[in-house]
Symmetry: C2
Subunit: 237 residues, 2 copies
DNA sequence: CGGTGCGTTGAATACGCTCAATGCGGGTGG
DNA sequence: CCACCCGCATTGAGCGTATTCAACGCACCG
């Protein structure tokens, strides 16, 4: 994997396929402001960006938008199609652009477990993307929101596992959780204390009890919704 | 797609496969602190978490760690294997856990463009994950670092497209870029001004000229590395 | 010519971070 | 068995940075 200045894998540039090994067909031209698809659209193909620049984003209930990416040539959008999911975001052209349809082989010649495994793996990767989108959203949120959201999600997962979703044990150290939530451990400590003072939960060392789930949900949700003005907001609070 | 309190897709719970439709084999038990794999390991399979809880993270040069996720049962780790890449992170058990190997069908019965398309799509999704990891990393960075990194990456992409990587046109509005970088537009404005005052670049409306790429890289990189003390750090600055 | 959208600049605030000290528990060694 | 130490969590005080609120400049357009 190529490396760049930031010590992390370069955002772009790997896997850039030359146009030669592409099935050259079904190119589609988009003009500035055109949408390739919108949230909820049922996709039956993904798209490879060939030229131009796009913007993929999510609209929140309050009208604010969260930008996910600015896809450039070589990038693929609409990966939801790969796992049969409807589009999870909007994709718009910021400039005249062209995309190439990626039609996928049908998984009809199923040969049992191997194919099941492949599907599982694909879904796993898809899930990873979804989860990262959620965390991206978390990045622009209050500390209280981050913690409340994480606890609610963890509780939910516990419930799915058949365990109590009201009382459980946090399996990681404060330091790790703080790091995950993008906080200093001290801030996490204080935030826990604040939520406890509000009577929303109780944490004894690593044992968590959710006392007021509705209240937690209230804290977790994007609070203000300022007012109905047109100014669209991306930011926290 | 299921929805939760935060208005975004629920982190977990979709695609949770019952153990019944799984090829029940090759389960592996991990104990607290055991590593499933480490950065750079060559993987020839992905893993489905069956029980317990893991921690996936990246180690930075300065010894600090960035936690990517706490994979729970139903999650898949090691997706790098799907595209033939070495592991991009470390995965450790936080508690006694078990994982199931996901061996994948060989792509040997290649039938031309369709399979090429599938591979491309898979790589696209993989790239999306990588890119999101980078953005996650961005979340814990100074405004200057975020802007510098974005500009350098964009310039790099321009270069790959055969255009000038020194002088180009930003295709998005300030508001969008600010939203993407997780900043207020005013802050973005001020940060641009600051970088200009430092003589690193010049921005006239949407026309960008990078004057001192080395300087930009310096700004972009994780600056302090405080000192060589043992206390591991996750946080910005 | 007035309106509107967008970008910039200024002043005040607030939030989370850093540094530092204290508390607590579990492990080890005397 | 107890003392000590080390890691981790918590709490407090001060500070820095980005946000918010507000005003202004500018270009585009009816």
């Amino acid at each position: 994997m190529t490396s760049n200045h930031s010590g992390l894998p370069s955002i772009r540039g790997s896997f850039r396929p030359g146009p030669h090994n592409l099935p050259q067909r079904a190119d589609r031209i988009l003009h500035r402001g055109d949408h390739l698809f919108r949230t909820g659209d049922s996709l039956n193909r993904a798209y490879l960006v060939v030229a131009g620049i796009l913007k993929s984003y999510i609209l929140h209930e309050d009208g604010s938008e969260q930008i996910l990416d600015f896809p450039l040539p070589g990038d693929v959008v609409g990966v939801d199609a790969l796992v049969g999911q409807p589009a999870g975001c909007l994709v718009m052209a910021l400039d005249t652009s062209s995309v190439c349809e990626l039609t996928l082989p049908e998984a009809d010649d199923a040969n049992g477990s191997e194919r099941a495994n492949a599907a599982l793996a694909l879904q796993g990767m898809y899930q990873a993307v979804q989860r990262l989108h959620v965390r991206l959203h978390m990045a622009s949120a209050t500390t209280e929101q981050r913690l409340a959201r994480y606890l609610l999600d963890f509780a939910n997962a516990q419930g799915l596992r058949g365990c109590s979703s009201r009382q459980f044990r946090l399996p990681m150290r404060r330091r790790d959780l703080a790091c995950y939530l993008g906080l200093a451990t001290e801030t996490l400590s204080r935030t826990i204390a604040r939520l406890q003072q509000q009577g929303l939960l109780e944490i004894d060392s690593y044992e968590v009890t959710l006392l007021d789930e509705a209240g937690l949900r209230r804290v977790a949700s994007i609070s203000p919704v300022v007012d109905g003005n047109t100014t669209h907001r991306c930011n926290r609070r």
